[in-house]
């Protein structure tokens, strides 16, 4: 079991991990997902102290590895790590890469190490490459060897840091196959990955990382099918969002239009749809500013790369008021021309008590 308490990691300019608290049970296969720069790799590397935490405690079993008296080398022997860049030892042949650590660190005989090495090479399908040097192999082969090297130490925990990110798309499959087999052996595994379908297929638990910690922790079904939290949902559905908070009438309207245009260009939103997104915002906001006494509006647009649909959500204060039922016919006809679905909800008791959802779709 791995227990992490108040883990914090600071770099001079950035703090990827602010406060991480989690327990990992034996046999868990955990996928760590999340946008880049949210500390996925940092979390993994803190667990075997390749990165030294700024604060917090980590226990591996009964051993507190953040204790300065802890012999981390002993702990690492039971905790394998697979790197994005393979990091095979260039001066050793494939079989020696696998034999080296068991002989040096576990006192295995050469014969024992060789037998284990060959067995592992057969499981990753590369026994014929035993006497090749790493630079004679393809990326996928190198990563399979790296996994075999890790397994040769018979670790209890295996940390995989984006194992397929550096690979040619044609080689991702062979490495994923090996990891998939590995996930069935009952070893505790943590894998940082961007391949969500792969994550879904092998893990029993998912960490979604954001906001300096584990933002949402749940089963693959929960995270991928029914994400509970906003950012998880956006990430899983590949939603690109833009948000505005308008307080009072004196807002920078042209500035916001400019931001919307930049957002559309950034997400390569088709030109016509981009026009619709902008028009929707303009019309609804103008109508609301005219109608409300003390306007407070929260507007969010979410564009899904998967479906090509943009959804506007407007939350605003004041008495019950559906923009789509207002009497400004000109504005309404424009709105109806650019949106194809509108849903109004009255949220009794909330600060923003009115909710309006509008869908923009490209033709």
């Amino acid at each position: 079991m791995i227990k992490i308490e108040h883990l914090r990691k600071e770099y001079p300019n950035v703090t990827p991990l602010e406060d991480v608290n989690v327990e990992i049970h034996d046999g868990d296969v955990i996928s760590v997902i999340g946008p880049s720069g949210t500390g996925k790799s940092t979390l993994l590397r803190c667990i075997n102290l390749l990165e030294k935490p700024t604060a917090g405690k980590i226990w591996i079993g009964e051993q507190e590895i953040t204790d300065p008296k802890c012999d981390i080398n002993k702990v690492r022997q039971k905790m394998g790590m697979v790197f994005q860049s393979f990091n095979l030892f260039g001066h050793k042949t494939v079989i020696e890469n696998i034999m080296l650590a068991p002989m040096d660190l576990l006192g295995r005989s050469k014969q024992e190490a060789y037998d284990t090495g060959m067995r592992l090479l057969r499981t990753v399908g590369l026994s014929e490459k035993a006497l090749n040097y790493p630079d004679e192999l393809s990326g996928g082969q190198k990563q399979r060897i790296a996994i075999a090297r890790t397994l040769a130490m018979d670790p209890d925990v295996i940390l995989l840091d984006e194992p397929t990110s550096a690979l040619d798309p044609t080689m991702v499959g062979e490495v994923q196959a090996v990891i998939r087999d590995l996930s069935k052996t009952g070893k505790t595994m943590m894998i940082v990955t961007h391949e969500m379908n792969f994550a879904k297929a092998i893990c029993n638990r998912v960490f979604f990382m954001d906001e300096g910690g584990i933002y949402e922790d749940g089963s693959p079904e929960q995270i991928f099918e029914h994400p509970q939290r906003e950012k998880t949902r956006r990430f899983v559905y590949r939603l690109k969002a833009i948000e505005f908070d308008i307080k009072g009438r004196s807002c920078d309207f042209p500035g916001m239009i400019g931001e919307i245009m930049a957002y559309c260009i950034r997400n390569q939103i088709e030109r016509k749809l981009a026009g619709h997104i902008q028009l929707t915002f303009e019309e609804v906001t103008q109508l609301l500013l005219a109608a409300l006494d003390d306007p407070r509006i929260h507007a969010v647009c979410e564009y899904s790369e998967n479906t090509g649909i943009a959804e506007w959500t407007f939350l605003y204060n004041g008495p019950q008021f559906n923009v789509m039922a207002s009497d400004n016919d000109l504005a309404l006809s424009v709105l109806k021309g650019v949106t194809d679905h509108a849903a109004y909800t009255w949220l009794e008791g909330n600060e923003y008590s009115n909710q309006l959802k509008l869908i923009n779709r490209s033709a």
């Binding site: 080398n73 690492r76 790197f83 030892f89 001066h91 650590a101 660190l105 090297r149 130490m153």
Partner: protein, 550 residues
Amino acid sequence: MLKRLFAVLTALMLLISLAGNACAEGGTVAGKEPNEAGSETGISQGASEYADLKSRLTGSLADYSRKRIGIPTGTSFDQIVAKALPDAELSYYNNLSDLLAALSAGRIDAFPSDEPVIRYIMGENASVSYIPEYLDSFEFAYGFAKTEHGRALCSEFSEFIDKLTADGSLDKLSDKWFAPDESGKTLPDLEALPAVKGTLVMATNPDYVPFEYVRDGKIVGYDVDIAAQFCQAYGYGLRIESMSFDAVLFAVQSGKCDFAGAGMAITPERMESVLFSKPNYYGGTVLVVPKGSAALTASNTADAAENEEAYSFWGNIRDSFSKTFIREDRWKLFVSGVLVTLQITLLSVLFGTLLGFTVFMLCRNGNIPANLITRFCIWLVQGMPVVVLLMILFYVVFNAVSISGIAVAVIGFTLTFGAAVFSLLKMGVGAVDNGQYEAAYALGYSNRRTFFRIILPQALPHVLPAYRGEIVSLIKATAVVGYIAVQDLTKIGDIIRSRTYEAFFPLISITIIYFLLEELIGFFVGRIGVSFNPRHRKPADILKGVKTDD
């Protein structure tokens, strides 16, 4: 357009070459002018023996007032020439052999030398002559440090020289050493000196025939003979340290040697730094010029026949070879020079590698004081010319300690080579990808084991070619150890050139020997490189002792 430009250029070049020829001819004409007006010749010793030589002397000092004059460095000749020929153009050369080579190549028109020396040279090398007028007269003496020990020794020497002068033995000694016949020039056995009052160390530069020179592998000469007789009479032993002339006084001042016996003229400047005994030789400085006189060829018909054979190319080579290697078993000197060079190089490589490696290990983990000290030392060692470093070590740092020049050379080159090894390791280890460390740490390797098992084996193949280059540079760099009284290959070459008065053959021989040494050492380092490179292992060795029945 281009054509015209080309034509103009060609014309210009023609003009220049014509002008050059005219000048050269003018020079020869002046040189040919036999001028016997220089009758105030100061030739004082053994004049009758050298009557024939005297007939070969030509020209007058006035002819050379605006010529190019070569000066041996570290001597007082430049002041003498500047006084006698104020308009002459001076250039500096390392030793007599270089001056002779420059003279015969036409780079200089004349150079000053002490009369007895040049007389001896004329016996060996028929292509020079000298102007029979003294530029200056001088007195040679032994030099001593201005210490109590030096003062005492100096007065004993002066007393001894007075006695020799009084009973006429000084004249006999000079007759003996300034005669052309080598067989009569014998020395007392230095090993058999009484040495009851200790052994004196004499600093000298043995390329100054007949005052001190190397014959049959031993330093002999007029100064050595008198010093030996002195030691005999006063109960000392005698040991001779050979070094560059520039270093002789320094060695005495610093106490490395007890006295200087190097055909050293007494000058006011030198007297400021050392004490001089009573003079043991009175002589004059003359100007050495190329032999170009028609009268001379006529007077030397006997030589001409002999020369004819020597003029043939192979005859020349054979002659030079025998002079350089065979005569007086000089090849033994070369062997000893090679051994000294090899000894310094190999020891410095060994210790330097150990030093560089140790320091690298201390600095490896970013220990700040260790890194600062190392950076300072490397800055110091690498910023200094090696020869300066060696001289500082020899004459300043290890001055009080009795330590041989070879040991100091090894220490100096160990420092420079250690600095090079440190930088190489830093470069090689820096070239290993950071991921290699991480992979090893993640497997549970300790920092130290990671370095030795994973990092170093990958760094070494990067570094070895440059390491080999450093060794070759080191072999060449050892050529300066002559400055600290070590007779390495280069110094041996100087010594032999000072006897044969030929630049070409000994220099080429030394060059070839250096090349051979570099190739030899390079070959062995290359072999080590192969055995260090894990890629050169045979598949059978990789799995040695493992049953691979599948």
